[in-house]
């Protein structure tokens, strides 16, 4: 049949990953992202030179990612909030070892076991390292099923290009909802040769080690610095965002993921009432689009950050605004999704 399909967000990530060349998936089911694990099982178990393992735990799964990724193959794992917490040690190891991989977090209400409804409470964890040590993941925040497809494909390229774990940060709603999607050829990007570092069998060359430690502080510091340079490069080259009506806006809302969809409806409704709202939607959460926010703060004096949390991304927005404008916050948490009506009410209060 045609290339257009009606897919759940979770399924769409799976298909996009496979089309991007991912043949290795290790994970442990958790609501609301289990359809992704199920999709990978259905597909990869029928493919040659592929592996799917439902691991005994999230900790095991992320370490399998380390093993597979060290051989240079494209590999993925996925989970939802509590499961992603369990993967943090592994992500820290993967970062220092510079192993490319893609990790998906379809966030749910937290903290703790939380709820199974959509939330955005893992922003800090995703963008500020999450595990121990000085590191960052590349964090992409899609807001539609089609964008899940596109960004999943991009995530594999970015991970390879920067030898860094990349995370797709979605939420339960994005994972569960269905939208029509189209699959195009994954973007062709010139990528570094993995044969330079991957463990591929040492016949005819010196053995290699891919390790997440060096006991000599000076050596470790040099690695830290190298990683720091990588993050600087990411900030210079890979920032992505979407702008809507920011030129004419009297107030700018900053929101990512599914919340941005809700904001778009609120903006349309506001327009009918003569209220001019703009939207800055960060697509990369790390690197964060601080420059475009700083520029907007020169013109617009009112900002509203809306999140499905008690306020996390607002800290990055405030750093970018740097006191040039007033930054307010509206959030719902625990798995409650805000409505366009309540957002418009909030705007009117400012």
């Amino acid at each position: 049949m045609a290339e257009k399909l009606l897919m759940k967000g979770n399924e769409a990530i799976g298909e996009a990953a496979i089309r991007a060349g991912c043949r290795f998936y290790f994970g442990y089911p958790i609501t609301p992202q289990s359809e992704l694990t199920a999709y990978m099982a259905k597909k990869l178990l029928r493919m040659e030179d592929a592996a799917f393992i439902q691991a005994e735990s999230e900790v095991a799964a992320i370490n399998m990612v380390y093993g597979a990724g060290a051989t240079g193959v494209r590999v993925m794992t996925s989970s939802s909030s509590p499961g992603i917490s369990l993967k943090q040690e592994g992500l820290s190891y993967l970062s220092l070892a510079e192993i490319p991989c893609v990790v998906v977090n379809m966030q749910r209400g937290g903290p703790g076991l939380g709820s199974i409804q959509p939330a955005q409470g893992d922003y800090f964890q995703a963008t500020k390292g999450g595990g121990h040590g000085d590191y960052h993941l590349i964090v992409l925040a899609p807001s539609s099923v089609q964008e899940l497809v596109n960004l999943t494909m991009d995530a594999f390229n970015l991970a390879d290009q920067y030898r860094n774990p990349a995370m797709i940060l979605g939420d339960g709603l994005l994972g569960q909802m269905m939208e029509a999607v189209e699959f195009k050829e994954p973007p062709k990007v010139a990528l570094p040769d993995k044969n330079e570092w991957a463990i591929t069998g040492c016949k005819g060359r010196k053995p290699r080690h891919i390790v997440p430690f060096d006991l000599d502080p000076l050596v470790l510091e040099s690695w830290n610095k190298k990683m720091g340079e990588k993050y600087t490069l990411l900030k210079q080259k890979e920032v992505r965002y979407e702008l809507l009506n920011t030129e004419e806006a009297e107030l700018i809302i900053v929101a990512y993921g599914t919340v941005a969809r809700i904001i778009k409806t609120a903006i349309k409704n506001a327009k009918n009432e003569g209220i001019k709202i703009g939207l800055i939607r960060p697509i990369t959460l790390f690197p964060f689009p601080e420059k475009v926010i700083a520029e907007a703060a020169e013109r617009v004096k009112k900002f509203l950050v809306v999140e499905m949390s008690l306020g996390q991304m607002i800290e990055d927005v405030k750093l970018a605004v740097n006191g040039k404008a007033e930054v307010k916050f509206y959030g719902r948490s625990g798995g409650v999704v805000p409505t366009p009506i309540e957002i418009l009410e909030e705007v009117k209060k400012i």
Binding site: M1, A2, K4, L5, L6, M7, K8, E11, E15, T31, P32, E35, Y39, K42, S115, I116, Q117, G172, L173, Q176, M177, M178, E179, A180, T258, R261, I262, K264, T265, G335, V337, P338, T339, P340
Partner: protein
């Protein structure tokens, strides 16, 4: 829709995300126009979101009885089967719609009621959207039919054609998708009960003949920004 010998038990099974819940809800509203006592059973143990229980208020307003996990358990991440179901299936005064979870996994629940259902007058329709992954090809749909019958321990009696890409659905989508379902129906030797089309598309297809009755759908599972 006219149907003189409407079965008292209406079971909707099918692939994951094929549209069973929307169809079951719409169907129960239609039944309610004809009969006083109508119940809808949310048998979905697979989906965490977008389930029949989410339209509880709409159903109650029409005096359609909803049998689903109790309000306080509605968000629990547990497969729950209400003890009321068995009684309802045997209550000859009620027309009962069963909204079953997706794939063979979802239909397992039906299997636990198969001994009761086998002795009753039931219609079991397989809902298929050919634009969903895993039901895009004839062979896949035939395989699914086999799996559904095996896990539910019941026989399919008809097929419901639900070709759609949500908002991107147009005339072409429907024609192409429905043609495939006609082939499937021939292979399975099952009748096509109806073709589902979203109500908003009615003007676009009004002069067309699809060889089968059209069932106009109103969408109940809405996203927060719609």
């Amino acid at each position: 829709m006219k149907n003189k010998d409407e079965k008292r038990i209406q079971i909707f099974v099918g692939g994951f995300g094929s549209g069973k819940t929307e169809i079951a809800i719409n169907y129960s509203f239609q039944l309610r126009e004809k009969y006083k006592q109508v119940a809808i059973v949310d048998l979905d143990i697979v989906n965490p979101y977008f389930r029949t229980r989410e339209v509880r208020d709409n159903l109650e307003l029409q005096e359609i009885r909803l049998i689903a996990p109790k309000k306080e358990m509605v968000y629990a991440d547990l497969p729950q089967i209400s003890p009321e179901i068995k009684g309802m299936l045997q209550n000859i005064h009620y027309y009962v719609v069963l909204d079953v979870g997706g794939d063979d996994v979802g239909s397992v629940v039906l299997g636990s009621f198969s001994s009761i259902l086998q002795g009753l007058d039931y219609e079991m329709s397989m809902v298929v959207n050919v634009y969903r992954p895993f039901t895009q090809e004839i062979a896949q749909i035939l395989q699914l039919a086999k799996e559904l019958e095996k896990s539910s321990r019941l026989k399919l009696t008809s097929i419901i054609s639900n070709p759609n890409l949500q908002e991107l659905t147009d005339k072409g989508t429907i024609i192409k998708g429905h043609k495939l379902i006609e082939q499937v129906a021939r292979e399975l030797k099952l009748p096509i009960r109806f073709l589902c089309i979203e109500k908003s598309l009615a003007p676009e297809i009004k002069n067309m003949n699809f060889n089968h009755p059209i069932f106009y759908l109103t969408r109940f599972m809405k996203l927060p920004w719609k």
